[in-house]
Subunit: 270 residues, 2 copies
Amino acid sequence: MAEPSSKKQRTQPPYELLYHPGVPGRGEPIRLLLEAAGVPYTDTANQEKNGYETVQKICMNKALKSDDGNPPVFSPPALRVPGAGKDGKALVISQTPNILSYLGDRTGMAGEEGSEQEKYWVAQLALTALDLANEVHDSHHPIAVAKYYEEQKEESKGKSKDIREHRFPKFFSYFQRTLQGNKERGGAEGKYMVGKQLTYADTTIWQVLDGCMFAFPKEMEARKEEFPDLLQGFYGSVKSEKGLKEYLASDRRLEYSMGIFRHYPELDRQ
Amino acid sequence: MAEPSSKKQRTQPPYELLYHPGVPGRGEPIRLLLEAAGVPYTDTANQEKNGYETVQKICMNKALKSDDGNPPVFSPPALRVPGAGKDGKALVISQTPNILSYLGDRTGMAGEEGSEQEKYWVAQLALTALDLANEVHDSHHPIAVAKYYEEQKEESKGKSKDIREHRFPKFFSYFQRTLQGNKERGGAEGKYMVGKQLTYADTTIWQVLDGCMFAFPKEMEARKEEFPDLLQGFYGSVKSEKGLKEYLASDRRLEYSMGIFRHYPELDRQ
């Protein structure tokens, strides 16, 4: 659990992240937002006794509601906020971009306070980074999410080749141009995607880039010279941000394994 | 362009939808929201002279900004709102869920006015429907988005089988349980996903179901008895809603063709 930073003194509710234990996965952009904001939270499955039972009870069932009268959850992650629901009960919301939007508004991580423009620019960037994460997931599961990789290995090679050769340059060009455009407008010397402060656009894009570096190390190394502002400057400066630097060095930061980002050498650049 | 409905008399800015011409595609959930809300808008590529040039200039280029100092757009659709940007310029935002969220807050289509809970429940449902739309897109393009279907036809058969047999029941069960849970709480007799009024969760889910019925008519017909509240009750009642009924009968409603939803008989239930 992160210590509250000095810049964020107002009382925060005890946010509960409900996600699978042991993997960064789709929970990681949410963790990065909270850690960078210095907002305390509970990572229920990883920190609470029988925490994964709670996650399963709320997020992985066939009921008509999730908990405390909230609508059902399609799949983890979900965010549970005691006291924020109807009639003072807990609020439960799901979908990573939706949780980021909710927390961004409440932690100062969605751009300059009161700027409606920055808020929506931040959201569009995070959504696009999460689209890339979905494509990378499909690099090892292009045919059926519930089947083993080994059953779709040949198709994975074709899908990965397309992602590496065509999708990576399209996404990276977009992120780098956003960064350069913000710098031109006077936004923080190329350190941030939107405005003059760290937002969840930065942390979410950073996480997806980091995952790509784990999954496709040769491809990403080869792309570094092509996208230096993004893959060198931005990538390096975000990981040194207050809150993130400490988090990434802590044991709360989970290792990649068999989740969205997987390292299969045969799918990388040969 | 829709006539403003009597319930929505406050002045609306002249919203401009920037998208490819001639296909419903990713622009359609945005059109349905605006039509159901009775809010006037310009569908630039379909209604303006040289409109697609404007779309290409703002949304499909390699510049560091899109227009009027806004960040670049990854790909259409985008929403342009004259006067809503910084220094009174136009605001340009992108990503379908982000545009729906922006418009939902401003047109009464994001749930009960002032309800933070309903707003985030509406967003999570629309995001999940759009995830399903992405999976359906991949049913005919599982390997490479820029290659022809014919080049990935065999892989498409495997992907479509998985979507029809495993993904459809998972998504439809979730949407139907949400509907039933809302009815239990007294929400509008099973007509709406969230609360007591039409929201963009309803219109977005409806659009994706309608697209699935075009793409996989045999599969969807066979599923009707399994998910009657969703595929019969809800599907039928949403298309009769004021604003939508008139829109769906108008020539503004574009026909499905070679977009996200495509009908290839060999991919349907045999």
